[in-house]
């Protein structure tokens, strides 16, 4: 089931020539590799449809839609679309400026189903209306909320209380059924505090007998205002917040964010820092998969595996604690490198883990992979076709389980992933069992990467010596005037990230983790949008559920690995 991904690298076509005439106001090649198009909203759908349907462009994956607020501009809001082509290596950023009085944009839901929740989020947080969206209502904040929180003039100190009467109940759940079989039908609520949701998710389903005929998800129970908070913090101070996005693999988030800022600054972390980042990120990926599979198996009644997976996790925690001081939320990455060097016995401990982890993976494999009960409950359950997975904006292990070999580490290598030899596991059936198999194999591939990285771990510093970005060493601050000035300026003013925007993406444990950053040149981000992989995956969940039974819903949910911190931010 393992297959290397093949990358068909094609020259970026001249986009403007292929798009409808006069539809694009301006087009430019951005520094982050995206082709940036500014489009008037009257021509938006035309442009988006051409991007998707024209074979030379072939943009099948809608990654993100977000709003940005510029109160001083005539056209106050900007809706930003990030679109990629899986077959060809190009990416587009489409911007649509709109004014405050008429903040309306046509919905892209008819082109990519992935637009569904992303548009709802922009509606919730910016008050931008998407015409033609099937279910445009608040998604992250609650029913009793007033205003749009990410607008620059929204006072973050004000709170709105929710009473139980305001909590979401879908309209279809309360309507009377007139059909004569309605005695068989009932509405069941799962969550937000339910042992099988492993987080704060809520699913309302209508049952016909035992079969789910309709479902709707409610999220936002862990909306902690990450994006608003980051607008008031310095560039490095955002890193602790990123740790708490996907808290099962916090290192990956921090590294992804640091890479995004480094991209804007044009600095690169030293080789040793890169290698350590790779090692710890891959260990985090293993932990994330272990939690996902362990929890999935517990829900299916296989408790032992949960303990098997938690034991190596404790060992990895031990290593992270030795490096960074924290177990779960490490805050180890810094813009330009790492907070400090790894402990002296780092190599020894990593090698110990390399020997220690496979034993547990093998044990679980022996117990589960050919287990009849497990296979009966997962094979053919929650099948997602490759076309659907791409249309919903899926990435990561769930997409690869459906047979699409897209992995950011292979397709757009960063942090030196091109020098490591590893395979991208792909399954073809797209069911819950396939997602299990892909995650199991990915843990082995991660171990392979770690082994190569630790074998030639470079010596040297772990943070850049560019003192616009990183503090000079303390001993120099005490002895050299220049270093003292750098230290002072960096502490008081922070890092000056050049004005502009960039989208940077890495392979998180759940899929493509993107950071879209807008900087106004000051010491903190102007706008920071996270593209959480779970968000795109979970929006397909109600659609997958239809026709399944409630116990299947639990099995499918576990296999999607929805992490509330990342989902709701």
């Amino acid at each position: 089931m393992t297959a290397s991904s093949t990358k068909s690298s094609t020259q970026l076509p001249d986009a403007e020539a292929l798009l409808p005439a006069d539809a694009v106001i301006s087009s430019a090649r951005a520094a982050d590799g995206h082709t940036e198009l500014t489009v008037d909203r009257s021509r938006l759908l035309e442009v988006l449809r051409t991007l998707k349907e024209r074979p030379e462009l072939d943009c099948d994956l809608l990654l993100d839609i977000c709003g940005v607020d510029y109160p001083r501009r005539d056209q106050r809001f900007e809706v930003v679309y990030h679109i990629a082509s899986l077959a060809r290596d190009h990416r587009f950023r489409v911007k649509v400026p709109i004014s405050e009085d008429d903040a309306t944009v046509p919905s892209a839901y008819g082109i990519w189903k992935a637009a569904d929740w992303f548009e709802r989020e922009a509606y919730d947080l910016f008050g931008i209306t998407f015409e033609g969206h099937p279910n445009l209502k608040r998604i992250l904040t609650h029913g009793g909320f007033h205003g749009h929180a990410l607008r620059k003039d929204y006072d973050p100190g004000q709170r709105w209380l929710l009473t139980e009467e305001d909590s979401m109940v879908p309209a279809w759940a309360t309507e009377e059924l007139t059909d004569e079989d309605h005695l068989e039908s009932q509405v069941l609520n799962l969550g937000p505090s339910h042992p099988a949701t492993h987080g704060t998710l809520r699913v309302v389903v209508r049952l016909e007998g035992e079969t789910i005929s309709k479902a709707e998800c409610e999220i936002g129970y862990l909306h902690r205002c990450f994006e608003k908070m980051s607008e008031t913090h310095g560039w490095n101070q955002v890193i602790p917040y990123t740790d708490r996005l996907n808290y099962c693999s916090s290192m990956i988030n921090g590294v992804g964010y640091a890479l995004a800022v480094e991209k804007m600054l044009g600095v690169e972390a030293p080789p040793r820092a890169q290698a350590v980042r790779v090692i710890l990120s891959e260990l985090s990926r293993i932990m994330d998969h272990a939690v996902c599979l362990g929890a999935n198996l517990v829900d299916l009644g296989a408790l032992t595996n949960f303990w098997y997976f938690f034991q190596p996790r404790e060992e990895i925690y031990g290593l992270l604690e030795a490096c960074a001081g924290g177990r779960l939320t490490v805050s180890y990455a810094r813009v330009g490198g790492l907070a400090h060097d790894v402990p002296a016995d780092f190599e020894e401990r990593v090698r110990y883990l390399l020997d220690y982890i496979p034993k547990f993976v093998n044990d679980v494999e022996k117990l589960i992979t050919t287990n009849k009960i497990f296979r009966d409950r997962t094979e053919g359950i929650g099948v997602v076709s490759p076309e659907d997975a791409v249309a919903w904006g899926w990435t990561g292990p769930c997409l690869r389980a459906s047979g699409v070999p897209y992995d950011v580490r292979k397709a757009h290598p960063y942090m030196g992933y091109e020098q490591y030899d590893f395979d991208v596991p792909v399954a073809s059936t797209g069911d819950t069992y396939a997602r299990y198999l892909v995650r199991m194999e990915e843990m082995r591939q991660s171990l392979r990467i770690i082994r190569q990285a630790i074998d030639d771990l470079p010596e040297g510093p772990v943070i850049t010596d560019d003192h616009h970005v990183a503090l000079p060493p303390k001993e120099k601050v005490y002895t050299e005037m220049e270093a003292l000035i750098w230290h002072f300026k960096l502490i008081y003013e922070g890092i000056h990230v050049p004005k502009g925007d960039a989208y940077s993406f890495t392979e998180g444990a759940n899929g493509e983790l993107g950071y879209y950053i807008v900087s106004d040149g000051s010491g903190h981000p102007y706008r920071l949008k996270v593209r959480p992989p779970c968000f795109a995956i979970f929006q397909a969940f109600p659609h997958i559920l239809e026709g399944h039974m409630v116990p299947d819903a639990i099995a499918i949910l576990g296999s999607l690995n929805i992490i509330a911190g990342e989902l709701d931010r």
Binding site: L140, T141, H142, G144, F145, A149, Y154, D155, P156, G157, Q158, R159, W160, L161, L162, T163, E164, S167, P192, S193, H194, P195, G199, T200, G220, Y221, L222, H223, R224, C225, K228, M229, P240, Y241, R244, Y247, C248, V291, F306, W307, F310, Q311, R313, E314, Y317, R327, L328, T329, A564, G565
Partner: protein, 168 residues
């Protein structure tokens, strides 16, 4: 109690002291886990740290079957009515441990959608600091709660008579 040599001995105590001793050693936690702290809570009940050593390993997700609510993670305004409802559904005596900075004070999320400490709407017995607290810290919290139960210092002990008065 019958001794090995055939003689009998007796243990005298007060009923409430006996009950407290029983209660403190058989806490059944309801993990109200929402975020990162819930992952650390999983570590605490797993084999490495093993909360069973303190008699608190029987994790129950039903409020009817548990007497210790561990609020592990950030509580948002959207979640607040749910926490309150589940707390109300628990049978008395009931205790609350607030695990982590977010549950104690809102932590470093000081913005429009985050409850600035669960004690805004439910009484908390033990606050465990940390972001997230280490497993040792949570175990310290559980031991502290056991001491408080033994000494009759919990919120339940403080307010039980008052509540009886109001219902009467």
């Amino acid at each position: 109690m019958r001794q090995p040599d055939g003689s009998s001995s007796m243990l005298t105590t007060r009923v409430d002291a006996m009950l407290r001793w029983v209660r403190k050693n058989s806490l059944w936690p309801l993990p109200f886990g929402t975020a990162c702290c819930a992952i650390e809570f999983m570590s605490v009940v797993s084999s490495h740290y093993d909360l069973a050593r303190f008699g608190a390993e029987v994790v129950r997700f039903s409020p009817r079957q548990s007497d210790l609510m561990i609020v592990a993670g950030t509580i948002t305004d959207k979640m607040a009515p749910v926490v309150k409802r589940i707390y109300d559904q628990m049978a008395e005596p009931k205790y609350v441990i607030s695990m982590g900075a977010c549950a104690c004070t809102g932590g470093f999320y000081r913005a429009y959608h985050v409850v600035q400490g669960v004690d805004e709407f439910i009484p908390v017995d033990v606050y465990v600091p940390g972001c997230p607290p280490t497993p040792e810290a949570l175990m310290h919290g559980v031991i502290k709660l056991q001491e408080m139960i033994q000494n009759g210092e919990t919120q339940y002990d403080r307010f039980k008579h008052q509540e009886l008065d109001t219902t009467a």
